[in-house]
């Protein structure tokens, strides 16, 4: 593609992926898109056009008069109550958003679900899912969703699921850049059709609590410096995302702020086994073990490393302040 245009619509979500997108840096969002050759056809937070002008624009895309390269949908698709879609009518039109999205998706070269709500249903589908919320092409882990498992955009790809709650701004902009360069092929996406640009890594990678993990020196309360896997519900060793190597807002991540990773890029993250902040265990052993780790080996290594835990890590792990800095080793000059 030489230049591409982008239409962004919001439905059953919180607008947080847009707010996060505005955090793009070096360069800022507008410059990043300009540099990538992407023109904003319409975005609810950024564009001037409102009301009737927007309705006319949407109609013209549906009529095939305005070609559409990127259709980005933020928020889940609300099918209720009773299949009417009335839980979200697009303002000014009286027409359910699910109808607008279905029609626009027929015309788009690429359709992107921005955030876990649009991808899989996400937070909006929690508990009894009273709004009958679904993702564009997945309902939780199951293929289907609003557009159906056979849907492909005219560019040949199914819905691209830029999941996350919220999405990192770079996850969105880099996925768009990849597609503008016509470099997005089926094998660039994982089994949930998430871009492998950021899901080929685990949140565990680059976690600054790794030394505590190695020795199973565990945090017991919010704020403790230790590893949060054993007690605090952390899913960083299973969560596919590069949060701790890419970092957020200039250098943060959930785990760096003392909170467990809740695996927000995954379908059905919104309904954890018991609580987000407690590790489910059987006979004292965490139920969810690190990805690709044989259970027996994990248990054996864990008990060995626990026995070898240095005092420094054992004490620091259960404190919110560093008690013992690492010992300084001097060379033996006499």
């Amino acid at each position: 593609m030489a230049r591409a245009n982008l239409l962004w619509l919001q439905s059953g979500g919180c607008g947080g992926c847009t707010m996060s997108l505005l955090n793009a840096e070096r360069p800022d969002l507008v410059s990043t898109l300009e540099n990538a050759g992407i023109d904003i056809l319409w975005h609810p937070s950024l564009s001037e056009q409102t009301g009737a002008e927007v309705q006319a624009l949407l109609e013209s895309v549906i009529a095939g008069e305005t070609p559409l390269d990127f259709l980005c949908i933020e928020g889940s698709m609300l099918r209720g109550p009773a299949g009417t879609g009335r839980f979200h009518l697009l303002g000014g039109t009286g027409i359910p958003m699910i109808q607008w999205v279905s029609k626009l998706a027929e015309k788009a070269r690429y359709t992107l679900a921005i955030g876990s709500c649009a991808a899989f249903g996400g937070i909006s589908s929690s508990s009894d899912n009273i709004t009958d919320a679904t993702g564009l092409q997945f309902e939780g882990e199951l293929r289907g969703g609003l557009l159906g498992s056979d849907y492909k955009a005219s560019g040949g790809l199914p819905v691209v699921n830029v999941s996350g709650c919220p999405t990192h701004p770079d996850w969105v902009t880099e996925t768009l850049m990849q597609l503008v360069l016509d470099e997005g092929h089926e094998d660039d996406f994982d089994a949930f059709f998430r871009p492998r640009l950021y899901t080929d890594q685990l949140v565990h990678h680059g976690c600054n609590r790794n030394e505590y993990y190695e020795y199973k020196a565990s945090a017991e309360e919010p704020g403790d410096l230790g590893c949060m896997m054993e007690h605090m519900g952390c899913l960083g060793t299973q969560a596919h995302a590069d949060c701790n190597s890419r970092l957020w807002n200039g250098g943060g991540s959930c785990t760096r702020a003392g909170h467990a990773c809740i695996n927000c890029t995954a379908p059905e993250f919104e309904e954890p086994r018991q609580s987000f902040v407690e590790t489910p265990k059987i006979a004292g052993i965490p139920v969810g073990l690190p990805t690709d780790m044989p259970k027996a080996w994990f248990v054996a290594l864990a008990s060995l490393s626990k026995a070898a835990t240095p005092e420094r890590l054992k004490e620091n792990a259960r404190s919110d302040h560093l008690i013992y800095p690492p010992t300084l080793h001097k060379k033996n000059h006499k």
């Binding site: 996060s20 002008e53 309705q55 009417t84 303002g91 508990s127 991540s253 959930c254 902040v277 919110d320």
Partner: protein, 511 residues
């Protein structure tokens, strides 16, 4: 409909957070030859109905969840006020579960909340409100060219200045809460992020840098000088000291004057603030509120706020009637296909009322209830208008940033950030505070360690509420009455200004 009225359905509204639809009945001026007989002439808005078009159902979602899991769900009510929702939830849990946050924890919560609120105030001005000044409808105005060059959506040169400043200001979130939005560090006992000695210095540096941006770009003056403007004449004199293009505040004052924003969008003039930013003294032994709690009435002035007098009316909402208007501690939010077809209902939003009265909330209310002299004088002169709402927001940036700098200095890095006492398994509690857009309340009950009741009343729920049982329109509905409409306008520009002067957050509104 007679020849001299017309009806408009306006939407989708953009540059507001979330989805909004407004139905306007417009009385057209029959003396206007261009519009005579065809219902398309100039006119004024007779009545307005404001429809919040999106329902998600957080209040039901939360029932049955483990108490502490509320801290994962509630920030996700809203991606723009996510920390405010977090702080309200943490404080409601603390209140219900009998936990007292540490002094450092309170300072952290204040810093995070102010970081988000000030970001919102800034984003609203530059990205959501000012781009309307660059719309073609103003092309003939003498001031148009430089204003369009600066504020035009996406292309204006302000955007490329503001986005980096905004992103760098939010580095505070990276350091103190992991990321924004949907930061999960905020706890009933304070914060799970103990800010280290090094990180505290970075926070102080981030605040100094943002202050520099505000002083050079937005205000064109030292923040102390802006905070010293204590009367309308002081503001006028200050503005006259330099050209209207010399800073973005001066530009706003000039345009507001040219477009008479002081006469646009007046509602009830009853202002509510639930108060904000409890401040521990350095010993952590006593607390005072930096932003006051209270109610301001046009003749009676400042009054105490009785939050027991809050009731949510559902007569015009697509919500099941239950037992009528209820206090949020008892309230319900049940929806169904039948409730979505309720006669007379036209919005998913409920109608919160204080003692049965329609009140407005937001930055203007905070300034007036806190007795800031300039905004109080303007309020007495012109009431709540597009001008006073916008100016209060800009001045809050100058008011709060120095406070943030003080809180950052007060962080005591060797003291605890979180009181990790477990929440009581049974209890009832509430938190009432101020988000960027106004008063936010969470009401909770815990049973056996799980949530058995959760109700939320957000700022825009107040401001964009539909009619109540008495037929009283909500604040925006009243503010739109009398708005001028030009011939053949489909999305009247005056309506755009009035709606955006409230800085609505629709995802919070219904949740």
């Amino acid at each position: 409909m007679s020849d001299n009225t017309r009806r408009l359905q306006v939407g989708p509204f953009n540059r507001v957070e979330g989805d909004l639809d407004i139905r306007l009945d417009i009385a057209t001026d029959t003396s206007d030859a261009s519009g005579k007989g065809n219902g398309k002439g100039t006119g004024t808005v007779n009545s307005a109905r404001v429809n919040s078009t999106l329902f998600r159902g957080f209040e039901q979602m939360l029932v049955g969840k483990p108490a502490m899991d509320a801290l994962v769900y509630t920030p996700r009510i809203c991606g723009i006020c996510s920390v405010a929702q977090s702080v309200a939830c943490a404080n409601a849990l603390a209140n219900a579960g009998g936990v007292q946050p540490t002094a450092n924890g309170i300072r952290s919560q204040n810093l995070l909340l102010a970081n988000e609120s000030l970001t919102d105030l800034l984003t609203h001005f530059y990205l959501f409100f000012m781009p309307d000044m660059a719309r073609p409808v103003y092309q003939q105005q003498s001031w148009y060219e430089p204003v369009a060059e600066r504020f035009q959506a996406i292309k204006g040169n302000a955007t490329k200045q503001v986005l980096p400043a905004r992103a760098q200001f939010l580095h505070l979130m990276g350091l103190m809460a992991g990321h924004w939005p949907h930061s999960m560090a905020i706890q009933p006992g304070g914060s799970s992020k103990a800010v280290t000695r090094q990180e505290r210095l970075r926070v102080i540096s981030i605040l100094a840098e943002f202050r520099r941006f505000l002083e050079t770009t937005l205000f064109g003056a030292d923040l102390d000088a802006i905070n010293e403007l204590d009367s309308v004449s002081a503001l006028t004199n200050w503005a006259a000291q330099d050209s209207w293009q010399s800073s973005d505040l001066r530009t706003f004052l000039h345009l507001s004057d040219q477009l008479t924003f002081s006469q646009l969008g007046r509602a009830t003039d009853k202002l509510m603030s639930m108060g904000n930013y409890p401040q521990p003294d350095l010993a952590g032994s006593s607390l005072s509120l930096q932003v006051s709690r209270g109610l301001w009435l046009p003749t009676a002035g400042l009054q105490p706020l009785n939050t027991d007098a809050i009731k949510e009316d559902v007569s015009h909402s697509w919500v099941e009637d239950g037992s009528g208007a209820e206090h949020p501690a008892q309230g319900h939010t049940e929806v169904s296909l039948a409730s979505s077809e309720k006669p007379h209902a036209y919005s998913w939003c409920k109608a919160p009322r204080l003692n049965g009265e329609v009140v407005e909330t937001g930055a203007l209310a905070r300034a007036v209830v806190s007795q800031r002299p300039l905004m109080t004088e303007l309020m007495q002169q012109q009431g709540a208008t597009v001008h006073t709402r916008m100016l209060a927001r800009l001045l809050e940036l100058a008011w709060m940033l120095p406070q943030m700098q003080q809180w950052a200095k007060d962080l005591q890095v060797d003291q605890p950030y979180c009181n990790n006492t477990a929440l009581a398994k049974e209890g009832e509690g509430a938190a009432m505070m101020e988000a960027a857009r106004g008063s936010l309340g969470h009401w909770i009950r815990l049973k056996n360690g799980r949530i058995s009741h959760y109700q939320i009343v957000a700022p825009t729920t107040w401001n964009f509420s539909p009619r109540d049982e008495q037929g009283q329109p909500g604040p925006l509905e009243q503010a739109l009455e009398g708005a001028p409409v030009m011939a053949a306008e489909k999305d009247p520009i005056a309506v755009q200004h009035i709606v955006r002067s409230f800085d609505p957050c629709m995802v919070c509104t219904v949740h």
